[in-house]
């Protein structure tokens, strides 16, 4: 069930220079959302900006009826959201999209969170812990530099719940120096690849590398893709990704908002 609902801002927390966490009251969505789902936010009722903005859900509190989104100011929509104060209203459509395939207890889950790509994979880790998941979870969180690891306090909470957490920064200012795919290679060496389930979200370059890796090594890997979405509900056909499920099938296009945003890394072509 998709809901279209006004949502009150209960908190707007600054996470760094340009990072924000918005907590919104939307009980119906908070109760039904699962990891990978997103909400489509109408920032204001004046059609300026014209279109909604899509945000993966970072976490929910079903008892309080709230959900969290995390974003960085990159344009007019996110800038306006960054000014929202407690009590202000935005309009939500959600929960939208296809979710991650949750792992089984015998699986080894490796979450790869590149920058703000942390959002959907953090929700997956949180939801698994809430559901008393017993399998191993390894959480890899990377960004350009330490100051852009906006959600480090959240990741520390995961560590307290026995999730193995590793960090990487491009400039080496925190954790492993280098990209997340290099850190993943190190982690994979220690694991039985047939049991590994990789869940990732992050910059295009990272996801393209993971897609190639998944194809080469036949790994289970799901990617949450990010792209501008006019409608968010599969009607406009505007947010497609190249899709090729088998070697011998032709390339077609799938809607990121409706057929995704979570895709099997082996089935998409990311340039």
């Amino acid at each position: 069930m998709v809901y279209q609902t006004p949502a009150k801002v209960t908190e707007n927390i600054r996470l760094g220079e340009e990072g924000f966490k918005l907590i919104l009251s939307a009980p119906q969505i908070a109760k039904t959302a699962l990891a990978g789902h997103f909400v489509h936010i109408q920032v204001n009722p004046f059609f300026h900006p014209l279109l909604r903005r899509a945000f993966s859900i970072h976490d929910v509190d079903s008892k309080k009826g709230t959900l969290e989104v995390v974003f960085k100011v990159i344009g007019i929509g996110t800038e306006q959201l960054s000014y929202k104060k407690k009590g202000e209203i935005v309009n939500l459509l959600g929960p939208l999209g296809k979710i991650f395939t949750y792992p089984k207890n015998e699986d080894v889950s490796i979450m790869i969170a590149g920058g703000l790509g942390i959002v959907p994979v953090y929700f997956l880790a949180r939801d698994l812990l809430r559901k008393k998941h017993k399998g191993k979870i390894c959480f890899l969180y990377g960004a350009k530099g330490k100051e852009e690891l906006y959600c480090m306090p959240d990741v520390k909470k995961l560590k307290a719940q026995k999730v193995e957490t590793l960090y990487s920064t491009d400039d080496g200012s925190y954790g492993f120096e280098g990209y997340l795919d290099a850190l993943l290679e190190q982690v994979l060496k220690k694991e039985d690849k047939s049991k590994v389930k990789i869940y990732a979200c992050g910059p295009e370059g990272l996801l393209a590398k993971l897609s190639h890796l998944a194809k080469e090594e036949n790994l289970f890997c799901q990617l949450s893709l990010e792209v501008g979405m006019p409608c968010g509900m599969g009607t406009c056909m505007g947010c497609v990704v190249k899709y090729k499920p088998e070697c011998n099938t032709p390339v077609t296009f799938k809607r990121v908002c409706y057929d995704g945003p979570v895709f099997n890394a082996q089935e998409v072509i990311l340039d």
Partner: protein, 326 residues
Amino acid sequence: MARETSTKKIDLSLEIGGVDFANPVMVASGTFGYGKEYAELVDLNRIGAVISKTLTVVPRDGHPPLRTFETPSGMLNAIGLHNVGVDNFIDEKMKFLRTKKTKVIANIAGSTIEEYVQVAEKLNSAEGLHMLEINISSPNVKKGCMEFGSRADLTFECVKAVKEVSRFPVMPKLSPNVTDIVEIALACQEAGAECISLINTLVGMAIDWKKKKPVLSNITGGLSGPAIKPVALAMVWKVYQKVKVPLVGVGGIMNTQDALEFFMAGASAIQVGTVNYVDPQASVKVVDGLKKYCQENKISSIKELIGIAHQGQNRPNGSIVNNSQT
């Protein structure tokens, strides 16, 4: 009680080409999928007509990404007629649509006039369909569509060919990317079109200055949204002065006030498009808004407003418009 009585008297219904629409609000092609996508959020029974995504003889995959880009008060799209194909529409999508009270209009296109004819012929078997909208105006494909809609002779040929084979009334959708839209509208009328919808999107583009290349894979796209409303309104105004068949206004309509402007410029009905992406309930809000407007202004039928802004205006030939054309 008095208030309830006055609500009941308001008549939003209209008849075009033998089709009785419960109200003059339609959802524009390409902005509402095949109807079912939004059914959880909108009561389709309350919309005058649902117009399908453009249908072609065989399914089409459309253009590679990127296909859309937001611009100030508007958006560009170059989808490239990505659709399920006319057979799937008849066999699958119509099953759902014909369970609703809304009227169903199939938007059709082809690369050649023969393909338009083939789609129209196939749709003759579609139970529950009411009208065809002929897409002679999409700016995003190399062959067909705007290629026909930008020339009066080809427009005439295309509309006439569809008209000859179809059991449904037809509504050609006009492009604003032409020298004289009136000439194209007259060609539609002459070819037997029961009504005309206008306008489709305006050709535009955006450049990614960081990557030093066009944003859209198709280079250019069609601009829609509130940015194009004044252009659409002016074209409805001009066409209304010369053409007798009913006009269906479309282009940047976001709310009731926008819709009223189109009726006053000469539209008998309107389509809401891009706004559906932002507020899927926009169409029913316009229906409610029109009722409220009529009630507050003691108007019994929306027909009283059609072309009313022309009254007292000088026509290009020097005559003065006295009566609204209904």
